[in-house]
Every structure is written in structure tokens, then in C-alpha cells.
């Protein structure tokens, strides 16, 4: 159904997102401060959304987009909760 350009572009995007996830894991492992680690986890979530979307295109199925949507929402709430914990020492007061 598709030609030869799209698989090459998909492969390139897969390689880029995988390298990004590795770089995020490096920052998560290395990061000297807590803010670095929170930022690395937030970026990991966004990269996971990109990976899910790429999988959806590669397998031509729309079944994974609910997972991506849920990951976006939960990732944002998790980042805010981590930051509140750093700021206040507590999440729900």
C-alpha cells in the first residue's frame, strides 16, 4: 500500500527516538540534581509517546493511541507531583 520512502523514514525516526531514550537514560543515571532526574523522566515519557505513535504508523493500527494519551496525562501529573514533592516535602497537604 505504501512505497519505499515511508519505511526508510520510519526506520530513521525509530533510530532517532531510540537514541534519544538512551540519552535520557544517561541523564537519569548521571544527573547530579533531582531536577535533572525529574526532567529526564518527563522527557522519557514524551519520547515514549513518540515511540508509540511510530509503532502505530509502522503497524498501521490505531489501537495504541489511547495508551499515548494516557501516558501524556499521567506523565504531566507525575512531573507536577515530583516538583511539588521537591518544593514542599509533601504532595497532598
Amino acid at each position: 500500500m505504501t512505497g519505499t520512502i515511508l519505511p526508510v523514514a520510519l526506520g530513521f525516526a525509530f533510530v532517532c527516538v531510540s537514541l534519544s531514550i538512551l540519552l535520557n537514560l544517561f541523564r537519569l543515571w548521571r544527573g547530579p540534581l533531582s531536577a535533572d532526574r525529574i526532567l529526564a523522566v518527563d522527557t522519557l515519557t514524551i519520547n515514549a509517546i513518540a515511540m508509540i505513535v511510530l509503532f502505530g504508523i509502522a503497524y498501521a493500527t490505531a489501537a495504541y493511541f489511547e495508551a499515548a494519551l494516557l501516558l501524556a496525562m499521567v506523565g504531566f501529573v507525575g512531573t507536577v507531583a515530583y516538583c511539588k514533592f521537591l518544593l514542599r516535602g509533601d504532595i497532598v497537604e
Binding site: I5, A9, C16, I46, I57, A62, V80, Y82, K84, L87
Partner: protein, 144 residues
Amino acid sequence: MSLIAEIAVSLLLIIGGVFVLVGSWGLAKLPSVMTRLHGPTKATTLGVGACLIASMIYFPVFGGAYSAHELLITLFLFLTAPVSANMIAKAHIHRQGRGIDANPSDHIVDGLPPPPGTSDWATFVGADKGDGATSEGRGGETRP
């Protein structure tokens, strides 16, 4: 028509992959937290947005059904990325007190410069004033 759509999808995928990689590379390479915030919040968000637009073009053209999920994810990511970046920056500033980490590219050695005028930076003023007195309770740096 199908060829044009395929070229557009491929171009958007390549743009998205490059921007995601640049954002994470900035996260791994830049020298301090405040500079590291720039990579993921801008470049990665743009890259994921490009991937989602590619998916939005791909599914109606190549036989799938159109769904609004991609648009929802894009809107949600573009709304929440600045908010989470602001939260991380604020947590970092309050965590470090006056001594934020060294940032050679901004010529900030090891601390915040004093603000112009007489009052302090607004985030510290709010933190000092409402220490347990208000019901909102915005005081309390964990490490003053």
C-alpha cells in the same frame, strides 16, 4: 495523491526524529539544569508534534479511520510542556536557594544576580511571606 501524502508523512517523520534527538542530546550535553531545561521543553515537544501530525496525515490517506486522538495528544502536550518546565525550574530555584548551579554560557557563576529595584525576586518574596500563615500556605522551602 498517495505519493504526495507519503512524501509528506516521511518528511514529517524525519523532522520529528531529528528534533527529538536534538532535544535529548541537549538534555545530555548542556552544562546546567537551567540550560538543560531548554532542550526537552522546546525541541522534543516540536518533534513529537511533527510525529503526531505525520500520524494524522497517514491514517486517513492509507485506509485507516480518522481519529481525534492525535489532535488531543498534540494539544495536551503543547499545553502541559511549558507548565511542567516552569514547575521544574521553580522547584530547582527553591531547592538551591540563592546558589543555583554554575552556568558559564550565561556568565552566571554560582548564584542569582540581584533583581533591579528594592524588592527581592517575586518567587522568594511569596515564599517568605506566606510561611504557614495563609491557608494557601506557599511558604516552606525545603532547604532554605
